[in-house]
Amino acid sequence: MKLAFAITGLVFIGMYVGAEATLHDPKPDGKVHLKWSTDLNPVRQVQIEKFEQMYPNDVVTIDPSANGDNSKVIVQCATGVGPDIMDTEADAMRSMVDAGVLLDLTPTADKGGYSPNNTYASIKGDLMYKGKQYRFPCNVDASCIIYNKQIFDDHGVPYPQPNWTEDDFIKAANGILHNPSKSGKTLAAAYSPSWGVGYWHDQLLARGGSLFSPDKLSSRVNSQASVDGLQDYSDMMFKYKVIPTPADAAAKSSQGGWGTGGMNWFCAGQSAMLPIGRWFICQLGNYPEIKDHLGVVQIPRIGNRPSTVECDVRGAAINSKSPHWREALNFLQYLASPDYSKIVVDSGDAMPPNPKMATSGQALVDDLEPDPAFHAPFVAATVSGKTMDDDSPYIDAADVSRWENDYVGKVENKLMTPQQAMDALATQIDQQIRLNLERRPDLQKVYEQQTGKPYRSDWWKS
């Protein structure tokens, strides 16, 4: 035992000496070293190299975060050693602003060229909180439908046309499901299974609906636009039977052996249409069988309304406690530059933040997908898209998101009608807002500032 202890101790000391000896700290270079908290993505190095060329006095190193998880940044910022630049989602941005972590970009944005006017108007809401700007996009995502031309040809169905409607979509999907296949190949579905809440959000936005009232004090999920949107999703599953239900998707995945998830179905040639963003082309190299047979069209229009989808933004924000916040603002200038957007275009990483670099399908052509017609619908979808108004200060967006999943799931499983589900969701959100206001004096102050009225426990009756 003593020998084992001694040997382990010696091994540890040896490894320690070896480990430290092989680490060479870079010599002081007189440059400002910025930390960027983002995911470790192969294209990040290219992006950083370009930034360092443009701003030779600044050096950026990546502080890796688990993809989509902000825990690391939260712990670091709470102790004052957070990164200088950090990628955030919209709901995380709001929490961080409330915690005093993020720098208000409004005073410098216009002069620096990274104001909301320097990117798509459709995503302005996701860059702002309480009337101030806190981030600028690294990229933007808006979904279209990618379709497999081989499957359409196989079933003798004409390709979807620009400006197609929901009726056209149902007709095309039925054609694929019911027209005999020339090749004899059977499909699992016409349309790949998609995320129910995402489908409902798109429908809600397309109908001009919203999640909250303008004062953010009550829910609007039981409005006609919202219920109709969810009814539409339900009809596609149960009435027209052109979208697989989650239960169908799970059953067919396990029987067919091509895995779960809409992208897997589509890439395995088991479905003809896939709702997805432009970032899909990053994956194309893995699927050579379908790569040269793809077309893209916007999400179908509803009635006479234009096609509208929810836009997602991965944005960069600045740590307000960073000693290098001025230099970090250079990074936002870089994100707004054509040089950065060119890298996003070439790497196929969704849509570039600078709209001047995405004016047409031709402008987005890259080595991954040389056909301008492939890219053009994504330009239109991003321009006409909207962001969801899920920024009520009176309720945690994560709670709302969880309940949305629950109630849409109840419709998907036929446990509730769309009207019942949306009524129940609205009631739950409204009750939570009242409860939060009753318990939290800070929210009562926000209420008083916003409404100009003193807070009363029965405020919601007035």
Partner: protein, 288 residues
């Protein structure tokens, strides 16, 4: 015993074996799937079959950066060898220090008599009741104050002390007869000699059990290294593998190949020392 009873007992025995085999399969299935997926291409990974229809060995040399990625035609930006070394180094260091400090503390709590000993021990144990997440920010703040961020010692030193390890070894040491201490004292041994030459060798099963548990925990540790490090030369495997899961896409086939290589030392250690682990935990559970 009648023939019918014998048949009944045998049936019961087979039934038990069947249930155990079923449970064993359930536990082993994710591991088997992981190994299977490490021999698949990305487009085959989601398929349900365990063994790929067209197995490939290419994921391993690609992860070891001996071969370029067939899609991008570039080497992956991984430092697999360095991360492997870091994982083992951090686990060895943590294990060595934690076992040493726990053994010393356990000796003080079990063999030495001093005023307030049991009260201090209860307070020591009470620290185990505080969830780790609650301590995350204060611990991190302490690391910031000590300038331990982005260093190896920031990963090793906080893990070098353990209330659980102290508790486990104290239970062992309480089971060793006090007569041995008295005999050694009569022969002129001091506290250190009694600890080093008498108690420590007899607590061997407990020490090995603690060493295995600590090594496995330190080797698999993810969140603490993630928040402590931003220099990829210092990453352990668990953090380094984040490279394969980004907003650009999840390269499951590579993740599985890297994971198979990552868990291999753990399996080896467990297989070699499992006898000590089981007996150590059993002894710790009943004596005291």
């Amino acid at each position: 015993m009648t023939k019918r009873t014998k048949i009944g007992e045998r049936a019961l025995s087979y039934g038990r074996l069947f249930v155990l085999a079923l449970l064993g399969m359930m536990i082993a299935l994710p591991f088997i799937w992981m190994v299977g997926a490490s021999f698949k291409t990305l487009d085959q990974v989601q398929n349900v079959e365990i063994v790929a229809k067209h197995p490939t060995l290419q994921n391993y040399p690609i992860v070891l950066t001996m071969k370029p990625d067939p899609v991008t035609h570039k080497m992956l930006d991984l430092q697999y060898g360095r991360w492997y070394f870091n994982s083992i180094f951090i686990a060895v260091g943590t294990t060595f220090l934690q076992v040493l400090t726990s053994a010393l503390a356990a000796f003080a709590f079990s063999r030495l008599k001093w005023k307030g000993r049991d009260t201090v021990f209860m307070l020591y144990l009470a620290t185990m009741m505080i969830p780790g997440v609650v301590l995350m920010i204060p611990n991190f703040q302490a690391m910031v104050s000590l300038h331990f961020i982005n260093t190896y010692h920031g990963l090793i030193i906080p893990a070098a002390f353990s209330a659980f390890g102290t508790f486990l070894l104290r239970q062992f040491m309480l089971s060793i007869s006090p007569a041995l201490d008295e005999a050694a004292t009569i022969d002129g041994a001091g506290a250190w000699t009694i600890f080093w030459d008498v108690v420590l060798p007899l607590a061997r099963p407990g020490i090995i059990a603690l060493a295995i548990i600590t090594f496995l925990g330190a080797y698999q540790s993810f969140f603490w290294p993630l928040i402590m490090l931003n220099d990829n030369r210092l990453f352990p495997m668990s953090v380094g593998m984040l490279n394969l899961n980004s907003s650009y896409g999840q390269e499951t086939n590579y993740i599985m190949a890297a994971t198979v290589m990552n868990v291999a030392p753990l399996i080896l250690i467990f297989v070699v020392f499992q006898k000590f682990l089981v007996s150590g935990l059993q002894l710790g559970g009943v004596k005291g």
